[in-house]
Symmetry: C2
Subunit: 198 residues, 2 copies
DNA sequence: GAGGTTACTAAGCGCTCGCTTAGAATGGTG
DNA sequence: CACCATTCTAAGCGAGCGCTTAGTAACCTC
């Protein structure tokens, strides 16, 4: 594997392999997917995968890391967008829901293929997940402190709000009656009720 | 595989194999688990598995079916336990949450290993899932019709209530600060808020 | 305790897996 | 167009997979 990380052609091939891997992992799971599946879907021979990646697990790790990082960024930006807890909650629940519905394929890997990561990679991913959880919990606690939210148990409310968003990746398929925007709008109202901001 | 379905010794062995399979499937996924894993954990040789089951997939199917059936039963009983939509919702959310927390291992297979089922088995399981979804949706609609619930969108509210319960299987580990009962009580309050019954 | 049914194992078959190797195309640069 | 790094493939290796077969151990009945 030569260092071709900044050459356009290699980049395009990497992207094709990643995209094929995302589809396959989301559909059949990491262990249910073969390197031949991925390579064939990317229009290459199985050996080509190893020109660009160390292993099948590395492919999963790269997908998982970039997915987690973009989710964390989304959450941080949404929550930082307003000092008003209600506005911040609206924004983060909306964006989180849209993202998990629109990219339910990628989000499925992010949330349901953690066990297939190597211990080192899993540890790294886990710290990103903790940061996401902490952001949501801090927002709920801030809202309670500001008198904007009213909950019997802030931790449970935070878990529920996050859990609702994540689980979209499990049940949402682009084929139903709802657009990602529909789900997001419905979930914003639900989140406001959960934290007692209505 | 002789027909030993009602002989106590064979039943005990079946149960050991099922239990070992549940643990392994929940931990590593269906495709990440080998028949040797299951047999060894059950204290037997790999061949013994095939004395009692046709295939590894059949083991998954039996686990998935019994898990789905007991969840459906739980939901039907809870919802049928009262004509009052608020009481019925309290009961179903409570029992559903307790079940998904206490048996998060089994519930993980039920909810996240569907793709590994054969097409025929998957179709059968899907009809059970639809009945569960319909029960919850009907309850929300009943509450709205009775003026006990107030929601802008009953379908979304029903999806959210069910989604919250299912996702417990993903995040709950018996090792945290909350008992299944704690989660259930918190989630009952949250569900009441979601449907606008507070 | 002999006979027959049931429960299990040792060994391994055929196949597919992740991954490697050796070498052939490909394409940018003088 | 010669040169050479880059990009890719044909072929296949060793390991582990799901599952089978042939035979042994355990148990129940009489």
């Amino acid at each position: 594997m030569p260092d071709t990380s900044d050459l356009p052609r290699a980049d395009a091939t990497r992207a094709r392999l990643m995209k094929a891997a995302v589809t396959a992992f989301a559909e059949k799971g990491f262990h249910g997917t073969t390197t031949r599946d991925i390579a064939t879907a990317a229009g290459m021979s199985p050996a080509a995968l190893y020109v660009h990646h160390r292993s099948k697990e590395e492919l999963l790790y790269l997908i998982s890391r970039s997915g987690h990082e973009s989710t964390l960024r989304l959450v941080e930006e949404a929550i930082g967008s307003s000092d008003d807890p209600v506005a911040a909650l609206r924004r983060v629940v909306h964006d989180f829901a849209v993202h998990h519905a629109r990219d339910h394929t990628g989000a499925r890997i992010v949330n349901y293929e953690l066990a297939a990561l190597s211990p080192e990679h899993l540890a790294e991913i886990r710290t990103i997940r903790r940061r996401i959880e902490r952001e949501i919990r801090a927002l709920v606690e801030r809202g309670v402190a500001a008198g904007a939210f009213h909950v019997p148990n802030a931790k449970i409310a935070a878990v529920a709000v996050l859990s609702l968003g994540i689980d979209i990746a499990r049940w949402y398929r682009g084929t139903g009656e709802w657009t990602p925007e529909d789900v997001a709008e419905g979930y914003v109202q639900i989140a406001l009720r959960i934290v007692g901001a209505a």
